[in-house]
Assembly symmetry: C2
Homo-oligomer: 527 residues x 2
């Protein structure tokens, strides 16, 4: 990491002040196309340069650099090398002592804090989106089976043989390039993964990764609702399945459009071109809806490929161990979910797609947009997710990460000198002091979530900075956006039109559900 | 490809004139460190920008762009897409009619033309070096098993399991990090691949790729001289084995140096760090000896990583189908080889390492440097290599490459309007006209070698331009040279010193052969 000076920190604060005030000015900037594109390019470049460019010298393979560590992408990259073994030993509190720090039930005065900004669509999208590439090997947590790119593996699978079994593979006009699907109550869904017995995997789907964490004792009526999806986590909840269903429909809609516009194209070309478009649509939503929701700025970021064509950090992505950890936003998840006037415990929706097929896609999106998310931070994780906080802290230790302060310094924040530099909450400060003695001892994962929340920001400051670094340097370096690829030759003319006119999930939902359009908006932002 | 204007072509000619004249001026420039580094950076950037940056939109997978074509590196990349199917059909002469164009025996007045610039060390190095990454799958010539990088697979193998079986894997001081080797007549060589029967592969080497094109009927006395090397072509001739042997010794020498300087390092770290250094030494030789030999300029290129740290074309390499073809320099190979006063037919040295172990490494390098290479061009390929000219032309057709003129235009040359624009040789022009009718019909592979040779250049103009594009954009984008990796943390202090002080093969040979140093220089350039 490049050392950053005090001057830079001051300028940074000033810029942040400008970006979060003068709404009218920024509204004008957003409206003036060339100015907005120029601003976008400058701000993205600035955000990514907080960190060193790839290739990172270190991966989780070893504490030193080797040809293998530079090329074997089954290991995670890392932003910072492990601390020198000569560093003094730091107190490492027992996991059992740390977990209460996350427990929503121990919050005073005793109720989960609701987010002031986000609907449940925000954590739903975050979970489902990152499940496409943040893929820890559970039997060896320094390793990963990710493709490191936004390749939409949730929908298409990680490997060619997985993609193959999800495709219809038909030469017939009207079926070319399609993903397998069926109609339920007039709406299109993926095929079921299991035979009707809910236990036997349908032979055509034997090459798919089995749904992760699916327990054999789950009732058959839930098991038989599981979809055949490329992503091993895409069935985790009704909401993640909802996201995948939307893009499955969009893929098949685009395949139809391409087939009509290019009667000479075969099944393969229709499929591949539809996939090209769908991947870019996802990137557009990520930058223009999701990142803009996370950002506290008035300026609206654009998924404009030109912004990164000539930057030297435009290199292929490699998921970093730190990125993989800081994206565990368990505290955003409420305990209950309200739909059609009834309150459901969220756990009842794990591996259960019945609510989705019963009420339909539009209704699911609207309900998810009407529910408030809970707020990010300590003392706000629901009980059923506490075990994952423990395994995340443990994963940080296994990876031998630097401290919270090491990472603050690395991306240009001053180190926390007192616990009050981390949090305004006296309860949190007292507990951190009891457990860690010194602010410099606080672990990366714990420190991330101990921070204060910021006005109009969906995430804490250090998380926000890393998300900007990693998201922009991953999303915009996608090969489909590169200088000689991002054109009508790759996507077709109708494909380019579709890409240019899509900026948010609502547009996508509206064109993929039965008319009339759903009542109520589809949004990550509370109105 | 970006269209290039007439102005640019004029400037290009002017620059070339300057670079090939005023030797004294360039001599001064080469001596002034900062000026030379600046010049180096400018010239390399200019050379690579002749072509579009990566990622190329097309690979040999399909005629259109897909997620697979952008990510599946078992296919070759391609500089130009296949010609539109709407292009008019062109005459495609029979291979049998084309092969005589290459045949040395049909040259008038009847003798192979000798190179005016190169010793046999030049084609030896070219063959051995490119065998590390130009790896066509012989059963599917659009595919490749290359790692696409200069990773020294000739020595270490392509995959980890191959590397493993070549390593000594010893914890003992004095053996850490070493490659397996044995002493023969006081000099170090790789172990033998076969048991003494010359037929059975030694069990410890079963994971190596078997030597390519090794025929079962080869006499046992030759077979039993085959070394256990990582590269499937590294045993092809005594000369390729000579190159590998040099770097095997250098690896083990460096491992000893590292072990002494870092007594705390284990076998793994010593091995990996020695490999880091050896890969960079190869890149140094490639740029500072080999590319400078190819280049007709007085300016001497430097393997200076800084030159490419902030360029936007610094992206991971992907071997192009065109690069794979244009590197087949069969005409450089003489029929006979003189060593210790005796003339040997070169074919007798195929898969025969006996001359090497008999005379020793120094003697082999000196003899290879004293022998003249033959000249690049048509009517100059030895009979035993004519079959490979045929398969190369066929591979160009299978790959559906554009024409010779398409590629001239792509890298900024004007298209050939007459056959005289290609060659001054009336025999060649007459034959090309008979076979192709129009200059615009000449195939890529044939056109490359039909060109005139240039003063003080080791290769023809179009080949030279592509070699510059592909070599610089491959060699200097190696991850070991990247901004945060190229430092003493990666290579150790002694490693950095070794890298900084190595510029040519002669230095490497001198420190890896028994004293006294060999008599006669080791050079690609005729004196």
């Amino acid at each position: 990491m490049i050392g950053r000076s005090g001057n830079d920190y001051f300028f940074s604060k000033l810029l942040s002040y400008f970006m979060t005030h003068f709404a009218f000015f920024w509204h004008i900037v957003n409206r003036i196309g060339p100015l907005a594109r120029w601003m976008n390019r400058r701000l993205i470049d600035r955000a990514v340069r907080r960190s060193n460019g790839r290739p990172n010298p270190f991966s989780t393979l070893a504490d030193y650099t080797s040809w293998e560590s530079l090329t074997d992408k089954t290991w995670f990259g890392r932003h910072l090398p492990p601390p020198q073994s000569t560093s003094p030993a730091r107190p490492q509190p027992l996991l059992a002592d740390l977990i209460p720090l996350f427990d929503r039930r121990l919050r005073k005065p005793g109720k989960p804090v609701e987010s002031e900004k986000s609907t449940l669509l925000f954590p739903t999208f975050a979970q489902w989106f990152t499940d496409g590439f943040l893929l820890t090997d559970l039997n060896h947590r320094l390793k990963t089976h990710t493709n490191h790119d936004i390749d939409f593996s949730q929908l298409y699978g990680l490997k060619k043989k997985e993609t193959e079994c999800l495709r219809l593979n038909s030469k017939m006009v009207g079926q070319r390039g399609r993903l397998k699907s069926e109609m339920i109550a007039g709406e299109e869904y993926a095929l079921k993964y299991f035979e009707p017995d809910g236990m036997t995997v349908r032979p055509e789907f034997k090459d798919l990764l089995p749904p992760l964490h699916l327990r054999p004792e789950l009732p058959v009526e839930k098991r038989r609702t599981i979809f055949a999806f490329g992503g091993e986590r895409a069935n985790a909840t009704s909401q993640t399945a909802m996201m995948n269903t939307l893009f499955l429909r969009e893929h098949n809609r685009l395949a139809g459009l391409l087939e009509r516009n290019h009667p000479g194209w075969d099944d393969e070309r229709v499929f591949q071109t539809a996939r090209n478009i769908v991947i870019v649509l996802l990137i557009k939503i990520v930058v223009e809806e999701y990142i803009n929701h996370i950002s506290p700025y008035h300026f609206q970021f654009l998924a404009d490929p030109w912004a990164v064509w000539s930057v030297d950090w435009n290199r292929p992505n490699w998921i970093a161990a730190e990125f993989n950890l800081l994206y565990r936003w368990h505290s955003l998840v409420p305990e209950t979910f309200e739909w059609h006037g009834e309150k459901y415990p969220l756990v009842s929706w794990l591996f259960n797609n019945e609510p989705l097929t019963e009420h339909g896609l539009a209704s699911a999106f609207v309900a998810t947009s009407q529910q408030k998310a809970t707020a990010m931070g300590l003392y706000n994780t629901p009980a059923f997710l506490l075990q994952f906080e423990a395994s995340s802290i443990q994963q940080g230790r296994t990876t031998n990460l630097g401290t919270y302060n090491d990472y603050r310094i690395a991306v240009g924040f001053p180190p926390a000198r007192t616990f009050a530099d981390i949090s305004d909450d006296p309860d949190i400060c007292r507990e951190l002091e009891r457990l860690y003695k010194e602010p410099g001892n606080v672990e990366f994962y714990v420190g991330l979530f101990a921070e204060n929340s910021r006005p109009n920001a969906a995430v804490m400051a250090l998380i926000g900075r890393f998300v900007a670094i990693d998201a922009f340097s991953q999303a915009l370096t996608n090969p489909l956006l590169s200088r000689y690829v991002f054109n009508a030759q790759t996507f077709s003319t109708v494909g380019m039109e579709c890409i240019e006119s899509t900026h948010c999930l609502e547009t996508l939902v509206n064109r993929n559900v039965p008319k009339p359009a759903p009542e109520g908006s589809i949004t990550m932002k509370q109105k």
